[in-house]
Amino acid sequence: MANTLFINNKECEYTNEPNLLEVIRNNGFNVPTFCYRPDLTQYGACRMCVVEIEGRGLQSSCTMPPEPGLKIHTNTERTRRVRKIVLELLLANHDRECTTCNKSGNCELQKYAQEYGIEDIRFAGKKPQDFLPIDNLNPSIVRDPNKCILCGACVRACSEFQGHSVLGFANRGSKTVVQPFAGRTLGSVDCVFCGQCQAVCPTGALTIKSDIERVWGLINDKDKKVAVQMAPSVRVALGEEFGLNPGENVIGKLNAALRQLGFDLIFDTNFAADLTIMEEANEFIERLNKGENLPLFTSCCPAWVRYLETHHPELLNHLSTCKSPEGMLSPVIKELVPKYYEGYDKENLYVVSIMPCTAKKAEAIRSQLMKDGRFETDVVLTTQEIAKMIKSAGINLAKIKPEKNDSPFGQYTGAGTIFGASGGVAEAAVRTAYELVTKETLTNLDFKPLRGVDKTHRTKEAIVDIKGTKIKVRVVSTLKEAEKSLRELIEGKADYQLLEVMACPGGCINGGGQPRSCDDSKIKELRAEGLYKEDIELPLRKSHENPDIQKLYNEFLEKPNSHKAHELLHTTYSDMFKNSYKDFSNK
């Protein structure tokens, strides 16, 4: 039922918006904010969203629940005065080297300073000699404390999404800082590299560690061949950087752009997602038959793997030994491409992956994912980084003509593509496991209870009846939710047999490396819709029906979980509980 209130003298409707700020935005107005993020608890610290409410003075709209009949004014002399002072005060204390800042153009402080015409800073600020050192010891995230405006979004993201609190506040008053535990670097704490902290950061204080130059180096080296693969969720988000709608599938355009950039071979991680299902579904069936190491945990999400290794090494036996799809495809490319393509050999072939994920950068340098002294995946780029590369190459993705990718690792099924949304891996696994066990054709492929990526769908469950055996599948996103499921397991109360975990809220479509979407929680839903749409449109929707997968097994891997498959597609884990602090400190 809709109620009404008045915004700037216009009668406006609202329904279940949690606060005035959302009501204002849904009615065609806007107020600036740094600290409000719809998926995080409201904080009310930046004071940019203040509005004047008749009879109640200035109030932060992000923390005020709507009430019928309220008379709100969003743009008055008083609100502008407070906002301008806040901007001026923040800028005074800010490293204003905008031109070389990673966030330039995407920075909310810069944007509002422009909009509000802040041209003169009257307050003396930090001098360059007072600047704190930049913390770049984390493989995924760079922290520049001199650009922090203390909005606390990262602190809340780490704690509310991952239950983790790698970042927290220290000191008080004007000496307050956000920093990792006890002033350590981000490289020497239990960070899982999910990147959600930088995804919600309004400024350049937390950014993705850029590997763009390394990729240009590979491409420009005449002696090197560079293959590239991209994750399912990249295709439904990348377009946003080029003015397309969230959820619009740009895979063909991306193929074309990558070829323009100079990549030699273009494959698709979706193919490897199908491969993962072959291995993981068979692994699951085997464990079910033996009654061992259940529930099975999915292992696609590197932040989740890292979390188990550092927090629950005693549960590592539950984790699927399958590498992530990206982790499977890289060694397959290096092993098999020389067999198919002339001029390629193991030494000159490099693999770049394009991921929605910052934790993939850390995963790529795991010692377990090394072969013959080289990392199987050479460089990981995030969606944000590839967008920058495409832009800098002068390519307009929105207009470029779509192209196909290269074989033999290009074909994929709908099961592979839905990996990008929370619940997708479990759904894809069930589609295959059902048919493998029952030898019957599954008619209804849509497991609706496992879908949904918004705040209310962080834990989902479905019961699948496989020839009389009832399997309970649980899907969680965010490690905070995962921890609850682990608690059940530790306390002997777990009644589920398969646990899919994605560390980012809603899964990879909302990964830390995706285009910025933290001020609109609908965007990840649109991206997920894009993936499910492709799933329906694809001719094949079950991984085991992928002809390229069948060919791979026939010609090379023999069968799922074979010796050869284990060598290339499976991995091991290590107890990092004791030495997790040392792990990345020297890298």
Binding site: G44, G168, R172, G173, K175, T176
Partner: protein, 622 residues
């Protein structure tokens, strides 16, 4: 709601009678103030001495023995250690351990008062014998502080003898929470912690969420510099607070409570712990209180001394183990407070007023005070007045009465200049405000606030800009760092004030300062930030000339700001001894032997070495 009258298993009147008899039997009571202030002045040693020598006194008249009673604070700390002998109706001040023998021999044994230890009235220069005749006490009317200084806080019988738990007994017997809330509403009691929100209304809001788990929280995080009324209650009459909390808990339907006390109040914490234990043993707290079926458990949470934790949402975050940072309201604690449950949060003084309201009735309470501010209020009177200390006066008392009657006027016959009311969140008021009745609304109108009740009196030698700088330094240091206006705004306000005090101010700084102050006041998240600019705004309003003098004339009219002082050598007094020139660390003094010297102002660093070294007092500050 059940309102059937309950039969209790403890008869409080009987308990009170027994306690009185017990105390009467003790003998001649010598009350020695044992509050934190007097302990610092040596009260523990005085008590030891009284006990040691008192043991030999033997039986006095009327078959009485002498008994030494350590009590809570009397409020007149500057005159400590205070010793009161109620049976003789006499108050001794500034008692040292060496004086004890004389008091015992001369007064207790021989009946001759020791005149040199009596209070001397600064106006009449006469000795004052009786407590109530000391001008400091004469105009006070003590309600929340009533028993402080009269009882041994570590002995529950002393409190019961003074009527403790009578109100709780009444409330439990009548068994009508609604009636309790109505009584508090009728009394007109308003929050004594600063905001002045009507207490009864707050209770009603919280009681509306009755049913599940609710909490009562007592805010004892007294942080304003110089304010110590809450500490006095906790140290001197802890049962009054516990009883007030239990009544509040009964009224709103809470069975658990927290007292948040700063860890810097170890004595208060110790005495509260003792009091809680004794009250539980006697059946006034804990399970099934007095057989009524009402349970009420009180915990103590020691705060780590962050000023901002006095803000209620920050305080609750701190109890929950989180960083003490305020969160925006709504939701209000009455709906979603401690651990997400409905919570009633009142400060110590507010809760200490509750038992007396229930006991004597709302009408009695509301006979004190003004139309919209009822009852009495404690103030911590400090600064340049003759009598400093803790006072309690009816709301509506004027500043003039407080400063010139209770405070005994300005020290050393100097001129009154201003008074800072309400601590760092308050404002500076001047001569023109001396006769306004002090209550919540009048003070807000004048640009100050009751706050927790700090009163710092300043004389003509005080630099107002420096006062504003001092308070801004305090609030800036104590800002939690969460919201931008308070964190960054107060920092830059402080920078501007420092610039002015340093003599580098420009006229446009005043506009910036005012603009910032308004933005901080309007834009901050919590009460601390919203009130932080008050000292600056009020001094800019009433003492703008003094700011301008600092900026335009580079002069500090009060002669306080050292950067604006100039050292000058009086040529007539200077004998040319060269001592000053030799002592000047920067060679800023020129002159030849036996000829008057001169200070080169451009070189002078204003260290004062020359003044100290001149044997002829020829150098002065202008």
């Amino acid at each position: 709601m059940e309102t059937e009258v309950k039969k209790l298993n403890i008869d409080i009147n009987e308990e009170e009678k027994k306690a009185r008899e017990l105390i009467n039997k003790q003998g001649l009571r010598v009350l020695v103030c044992n509050g934190t202030g007097c302990i610092a002045n040596g009260s523990n040693e005085v008590i030891e001495k009284f006990k040691e020598l008192g043991a030999d006194v033997g039986i006095l008249e009327e078959n009485k023995k002498m008994v030494t009673v350590p009590t809570g604070c009397h409020g007149f700390c500057e005159q400590g250690v205070l010793v009161i002998i109620p049976d003789f109706d006499i108050t001794y001040v500034k008692v040292k351990p060496d004086d004890v023998e004389e008091i015992i021999n001369s007064h207790i044994k021989d009946g001759k008062p020791v005149e040199r230890l009596l209070y001397t009235d600064p106006k009449t220069n006469l000795h004052v014998y009786k407590n109530e005749e000391i001008n400091f006490y004469a105009k006070q009317s003590r309600t929340s502080l009533k028993n402080c200084g009269e009882i041994n806080a570590e002995c529950i019988d002393e409190a019961i003898a003074k009527g403790a738990y009578r109100a709780l007994s009444k409330v439990l017997e009548q068994n009508n929470p609604e009636a309790v809330i109505e009584e508090i509403e009728k009394s007109g009691l308003r929050g004594r912690g600063g905001g002045g929100f009507p207490t009864g209304r707050k209770w009603r809001f919280t009681a509306a969420n009755r049913g599940g788990k609710s909490y009562v929280v007592c805010n004892g995080d007294e942080g304003d510099p110089g304010a110590f009324m809450d500490r006095s209650v906790m140290e001197g009459d802890p049962h009054k607070l516990l009883e007030g909390m239990a009544i509040a808990g009964f009224a709103i339907g809470a069975d658990e409570a927290y007292i948040y006390v700063r860890a810097e109040y170890p004595l208060a914490i110790k005495r509260l712990r003792i009091a809680i234990k004794q009250a539980e043993e006697r059946g006034f707290l804990g399970k099934n209180i007095m057989g009524s079926g009402f349970n009420f458990e009180i915990h103590i949470k020691e705060g780590a001394g962050a000023f901002v934790c006095g803000e209620e949402t920050a305080l609750m975050a701190s109890i929950e183990g989180e960083r003490g940072m305020p969160r925006p309201k709504p939701p209000f604690p009455a709906n979603c407070g401690l651990f997400g449950r409905p919570t009633l949060i009142n400060n110590v003084e507010t809760l200490a007023n509750v038992p007396v309201i229930i006991d004597k009735g709302a009408q009695w309470f509301s006979s004190f005070g003004t139309e919209k501010s009822k009852g009495t209020k404690t103030f911590a009177l400090t600064g340049e007045v003759n009598n400093t200390g803790l006072i309690e006066v009816p709301m509506g008392t004027t500043l003039r009465e407080i400063i010139f009657d209770i405070g005994g006027g300005i020290r050393n016959g100097k001129k009154f200049k201003a008074v800072q009311i309400g601590g760092p969140s308050g404002g500076c008021l001047t001569e023109e405000h001396l006769d306004i009745p002090m209550d919540y609304d009048n003070l807000i109108k004048a640009g100050a606030m009751v706050g927790s009740g700090g009163l710092v009196v300043m004389n003509e030698d005080t630099c107002i800009v420096e006062v504003a700088r001092f308070f801004m330094h305090f609030t800036q240091n104590e800002s939690c760092g969460k919201c931008v206006p308070c964190r960054e705004g107060t920092k830059n306000m402080l920078k501007i004030l420092e610039k002015i005090v340093r003599g580098d101010g420009e006229m446009k700084d005043l506009d910036t300062l005012e603009e910032l102050a308004l933005a901080v006041k309007e834009g901050s998240l919590c009460g601390l930030g919203k009130t932080a600019p008050n000292p600056v705004l009020s001094t800019l309003k009433y003492f703008r000339d003094e700011y301008i003098a600092h900026i335009k004339d580079k002069k500090c009219p009060a002669g306080v700001c050292s950067a604006l002082k100039t050292y000058k050598i009086n040529e007539e007094l200077c004998k040319g001894c060269t001592k000053c020139a030799r002592n000047c660390p920067v060679g800023a003094i020129e002159g030849t032997v036996k000829n008057p010297h001169k200070i080169v102002q451009a070189k002078c660093i204003k260290c004062g070495a020359c003044i100290a070294s001149c044997p002829f007092k020829a150098i002065s500050l202008v």
